[in-house]
């Protein structure tokens, strides 16, 4: 209760601002509707209610978005293209695959960098530089070129090829926080902890598995939480420029083509709910692992 209270207060504040803004932003269209219908002397309460329930409002209201979410998840079979769950699943599978690829790549790079000064000097600047390229500029290239290579040269069917090219963008965004966090984590053991291994004449692989790796686990999970959110962004961005017909990104784009603002907002909400589920899941795994590793309860 003590935790929820401040959050609820902010939520109420947001809702008030939201509904007030909806009146202002939808007023002009509502007035046009009244003028065309020849309606005059609309009472204020009627006017407000009408601005909150337009079919294509400039700013849809909370209950409209929630209604749309309900209609496109619970009331539709999840295998139909009208179902948001279907689109969320498409985006999630690209996110998960990209997250997996990005995490493995990030950890592998960190291991190389920590164990070799040459790698540290040659790779690190490129890793940082890779993130300075705007992903929006890069995504169409990766999706188009990747898709063509996968379907043409490698002869992969279109669906897995589309999934792979989106996953590559996810991986591109998520490997960076994992690599940077893991470099820090693998270097986190104190000097005496490393000296101890030296006095045992431990091999580099023993030092890695018995010291560096477990010491890096808290850093790993912090990075994974950032990485999984970045993966979702990558998957959605990968769905935007390619005329994809499935996925939350495709829903966003289709909604904007046809001025379906309620659809855009519900896709937006679906994306943030998915992001929250992903980050919370990583957090849960983190808690389980921490308990397994004997961490002091917080």
């Amino acid at each position: 209760m003590n935790k929820a209270f401040p959050i609820i207060i902010v939520l109420i504040g947001l809702l008030i601002v939201w509904y007030a803004a909806a009146i202002g932003m939808n007023a002009q269209w509502q007035n046009d509707v009244y003028r065309r219908a020849g309606t005059t002397d609309v009472p204020m309460t009627q006017f407000v209610q009408d601005t909150w329930n337009q079919e294509k409002p400039v700013l849809p209201t909370m209950h409209q978005v929630m209604g749309e979410l309900w209609n496109t998840t619970v009331l539709v079979a999840p295998n139909k293209p009208r179902s948001l769950l279907f689109h969320a699943w498409v985006t999630f599978s690209a996110t998960a695959l990209g997250f997996l690829m990005g995490s493995v790549l990030g950890i592998a790079l960190a291991v190389l960098i920590v164990h070799s000064e040459a790698m540290n000097r040659s790779l690190m600047p490129w890793i940082v530089a890779s993130q300075t390229i705007p992903i929006l500029a890069l995504a169409p290239l990766i999706v188009v070129i990747g898709f063509n290579i996968f379907t043409g040269t490698l002869g992969i069917p279109t669906d897995p090829a589309r999934l792979m090219s989106k996953a590559i963008i996810s991986a591109y965004l998520s490997f960076f926080p994992v690599a940077v966090g893991m470099v820090k984590g693998l270097r986190s053991p104190e000097a005496i902890q490393l000296d101890l291994m030296h006095t045992y004449n431990a091999s580099p692989s023993q030092t890695f598995w018995k010291l560096r790796w477990p010491a890096s686990v808290p850093y790993l999970f912090t990075s994974l939480k950032v990485g999984v959110a970045a993966s979702l962004v990558g998957a959605i961005v990968g769905e935007l420029p390619t005329g994809a017909v499935a996925g939350l990104g495709a829903r966003l784009l289709a909604g904007s083509y046809y001025s379906q603002t309620v659809q855009i907002w519900s896709a937006l909400f679906a994306a943030s709910i998915l992001a929250a589920i992903l980050v919370i899941s990583v957090g849960l795994v983190e808690k389980l692992v921490a308990r397994q590793m004997g961490a002091r309860p917080a």
Binding site: H198, T199, Y200, N201, K210, L211, G294, A295
Partner: protein, 280 residues
């Protein structure tokens, strides 16, 4: 005076090489660190030999090279010149043979391992069988009076218990030489007294050779059969005192005239090192 006195120079080893009973022998050992402020002479022409079964304390102010000497024995630092032999081997060979256990200033327990798993760490690395590991864990945990705390994590133990666990870890693989770098420096006086007398009992039971670095004169005199007094800039040995205290040492031995005489000599040696520094 009951003290038998040897000076640093008389402790130098002969050219014939170390005697069989010599565990550590240093001849003209020097170590210079290159720093941005110029070279730092951490060790300068140290000559010393430590016999099997001795309890040797190294005492001196900060920067006198006592920790550096210990780390050089452990092959954690490389000497600039001179020779250092451990059981007749180079420090590197000795380390590869796992000839010593090292206890650091901090317990350095791995927080994700239980106490028994921490004690098992060197055993895992050295490839002992599971049965052998269990047997050794039990034996060393008994030795440091930590039985019953096997499944606890380090944060659940007090500082003194953590340091005892780290001693158990150093004892687990039965190296004959135990190197201890101010192991009780961070503990309060009462815990320190207690651990000191426990350490003496442990030493008597295991017959190990112990090299012990400390800041504390009473601790050095209470524990040692030999006290090496060192002074800084350059780090060197100024006095080596053979203790005449009996092997059996209750805590109140620290009030006897014999004890106080040795302590006074240690203090004199430390003061001499300081006056040198002021005149230099």
């Amino acid at each position: 005076m009951l003290l038998s006195v040897t000076t640093a120079s008389s402790a130098a080893i002969e050219d014939k090489g170390p005697l069989p009973a010599t565990v550590v022998s240093a001849a003209d050992l020097s170590l210079t660190f290159a720093t941005n402020d110029g070279p730092v002479h951490a060790l300068s022409n140290v000559n010393l030999s430590i016999g099997k079964g001795e309890f040797v304390s190294f005492i001196g102010p900060s920067g006198c090279g006592k920790t550096t000497f210990l780390r050089t024995i452990a092959d954690l630092e490389q000497p600039t010149s001179g020779t250092l032999l451990i059981n007749g081997m180079t420090p590197r060979q000795a380390r590869e043979k796992r000839a010593y256990g090292y206890v650091f200033q901090a317990p350095a327990l791995y927080p994700w391992r239980t106490i028994e798993k921490n004690v098992a760490l060197p055993l895992e690395i050295m490839g002992y069988s599971a049965a052998e590991q269990a047997e050794r864990i039990k034996r060393t945990m008994d030795l440091v009076n930590l039985s019953g705390f096997e499944k606890k994590y380090p944060w659940q133990l007090s500082g003194g218990m953590q340091q005892r666990a780290s001693i158990a870890r150093a004892l687990a693989f039965d190296a004959d030489l135990l190197l201890m770098d101010e192991p009780f420096g961070a503990l309060d006086e009462i815990v320190r007294d207690h651990l000191n007398s426990e350490l003496l009992k442990l030493w008597a039971r295991t017959q190990k050779t112990i090299c012990f670095v400390t800041h504390s004169i009473p601790e050095a005199v209470y524990l040692s059969t030999k006290i090496v007094v060192m002074s800084p800039r350059p780090g060197r040995v100024t006095d080596v005192i053979e203790s005449t205290l009996p092997a059996e040492r209750p805590l109140d031995i620290r009030e006897t005239p014999e004890f106080l005489a040795i302590a006074a000599r240690v203090r004199d040696g430390l003061r001499a090192g300081h006056s040198y520094e002021e005149h230099a």
